[in-house]
Amino acid sequence: MAKRILQILFLFIFYVASCYAHVVGVVVDLDGLPLIGANVYWAGSSVGVSTDTAGVFSIETVAGKKQLVASYVGYKSDTVVCSSNSHKVVFVLVADLELGEVEVSERRATLIKSRTSALNVQTLNAGELCKAACCNLSESFETSAAVDVAYSDAATGAKQIRLLGLAGTYVQLLTENTPGIRGLAQSFGMEYVPGPWMEAIQVSKGTASVINGYESTTGQINIEYLKPKLQDPLTINLMLNSELHSELNLTGGWRVTPEDDETDVTTGLMVHAGLMPMNMDMNGDSFVDMPSGYKVNLLNRWDIFKDDYTGRILLRGIYDRRLGGQRTDNIFAQTTPSALSPAPYLIDLDPRRVEGFMKNGYVIDEEKEMSIGIITAGSYHWQDNSYGHRRWKAAQANAYLNAMFQTSFSESHKLTSGLSLNHDTYIETLEGILPDDVVMTALGQPIDRLDLSRRQTDIGVFAEYSYKLDEKLSLLAGMRADLIIRDKVRVIPTPRFNLRYSPWEWWTIRASVGMGYRSPNVLADNAQYLPTGRLLFPATTTEDYGFNRALQTKGLMTPNMESALNAGLSTMFYIPIAERELQLSAEYYYTHFFDCLVADAETAGMVRFYNLSDIDGARAFSHTAQIEATMEILRGWTMTLAYRHTDSRQTLYSPSQNAYMLRQRPLQNRFKAIISTSYQTPLKKWQFDFTAQFNGYGRMPESFVVPTASDQYFVRGAETYHRWYPQLLGQITKYWRTCSLYVGAENMTNFRQASPIVATTTPFNSAFDASAVWGPINGWKVYVGFRWNLERDDD
């Protein structure tokens, strides 16, 4: 013992003499015996060391950190405050008798609802994304009750999402907190984000932060791609389904600079190739159910870390080609399609896109959390799409800049402010709008060719204040003002407010209210009406208002900006049951439109476009209420039950009443229920996932003619509704050390919407319509996939 003390003393002297920038000491127990391998670290920092075989440690001093902590398994941690001249510290740790057994970390929840954020954020991480085929972003919400994903039409395979009873256009889609999928990319953009590329998806409901612009009305969906720093050097994913749709994903991340270099540069490369070789017409309506085609998607990113600087550069390119309509040929054999009378209706889409961003972050003062961030982004999207006689040629160029400054005054007050700039140029034409059977009226010549080219520049300033009191209260108050330069110049204010209060650990309540705006894109937002024979811009008649009239008289293609208020209330309970936790949540959101662009398809053979504000007493709103319960019932077995009710209404024209009236938004499910269950074996070698969706009934547009002998519809009052329908999907995954194999099935009940395309025999007439889609077009599907990864060498 005496020898040991001598040894310690000697070490003290040695350390003190050699280096004053170190704090040295010893960790012992009550008996004076050294504790080997105890952790010693500065509270609130990442600097820490372990004690050696004599229980001695030496730790570098860290500016601003005074509290030195020693911890050891089975002992109570101890904290000592070090003044500038105290170099010798002795920790005497007391055994923690209560620690009888090791608490275990249970299976990590894959769907995490934030407890501490003021925003109602739900994070879907890679675990959740692996539960289903999740070929791309649009398929990632199959286990979510809040987000609906549905085909927007029955001919192009485009999918759209709905959140809070409103179209996905009112959700701001962000790529690593940078506005990404906007404008022309809206119709297919969700499919351009391959599932295996994503690290996590954050869904934030209700009004969001003002930092990213004025656009989010009902919420934000943020995609985080894989980060090269955490990525494996090579991951291969292969997927094949029963329709012979195959996908290949290659991802990899590597460190560029040597391991010991101060500058940390990493790069990531992601490749995606998708092939849909088959033209399948399962329902025999002469139209292919899903277009054949191929997709190539490339991404390269560079992450740079040096001292207080963080930089991220991302570049991405996409090429997508789809062939649909009445064809017997496919992407490989483009023969002259079989002669139908008078000619086949063909769909040929070829969107291309390049985009990139550069983010620079610099920490000025770590203690004050003072930092500046500059984000620049740009994209160019172009497409030459044809739908029968209709040809939609469009290009969009976007440039974006966001510069912000962040500082905290104390631990609980934080301020972020900055300015942003956004510019969009659209060059867009639509030709061949008129269906063959159009009847000329005395009221004027309907429009056959449109030029929708336009520009918009926004200059904005913003400030966001956040306040945090312990873990109990957090508040986020933001305000931005944007100068909008388009057909006319105006300033729009965007106030937003979020509050979270958690009086006890088991109960959290959140409230939010805020404004959101949007510049509508007449065609991109309503692309489902392109594969129809509907007259898109009917001649001005007495009941035609606003947008159509402006179009006729001035040739003006800039509808009013949409503006809406969103308010929400949500609560979460964390109820302990038998050492586990039941999460119960209830939420309610209300969206009220002051103005919006209405695409009214209630009248047969046409779509009317008008601004809500042009019609006296017109209203548009949406109420959504949702309850959800999640629990890990047994180790590895989790279960989620959720139910959502939606009441989304809008003033639309009724041809039978010859008047505008408040009606349910067409094709919006009135309710949705989800039962989702997942089981993972203790060693995580097997995983079983199963989800049952019950998609509620919804109103059909008045122009819709119920197919004869179909039991999928019912009439209530003056309106026709489609019935509710189930969707069952499941997957089994087997994991090995470096690879996994998964087999799954979708739409197990083989439910299909009967005759999703109306008037298929006369596709060039105004009655032809592929837009009235509410259910699955294809039947059951099975898929098999394989993942393999080369593990990272470092730790």
Partner: protein, 101 residues
């Protein structure tokens, strides 16, 4: 005939073995391992779970403790420690005996 007797005898002899196999012996090893992030947890889960004889794995990230339940006829603590070392997550301390208290 002799063959049959040998066969029957071996069946009788093997029976208790198969019975004991139905209720296999399990041992618990509790190791302190440096765990700084979720990445470490994933790494341990992905590798140790596939080591021979490992029957269950519990990781406590906060306490930096990994509990391995294993079949002593197939592996032992030394082999397990080697497996941890191989993934550069060396066992800093064996707490197995402390846990039994």
């Amino acid at each position: 005939m002799k063959k049959i007797v040998v066969l029957l005898l071996s069946v009788l002899l093997l029976l208790p073995v198969s019975v004991s196999a139905a209720k296999p012996k399990r041992e618990k090893a509790v190791f302190r391992v440096e765990i700084t992030c979720q990445g470490c947890v994933n790494k341990i889960e992905k590798n140790i779970a596939f080591e021979k004889g490992v029957k269950d794995l519990l990781i406590d990230k906060d306490k930096q403790v990994v509990t391995v339940v294993y079949d002593p006829s197939k592996t032992d603590k030394t082999a397990l420690k080697k497996a941890f070392a191989k993934i550069r997550k060396p066992v800093l301390e064996d707490l197995s005996d402390k846990q039994d208290k």
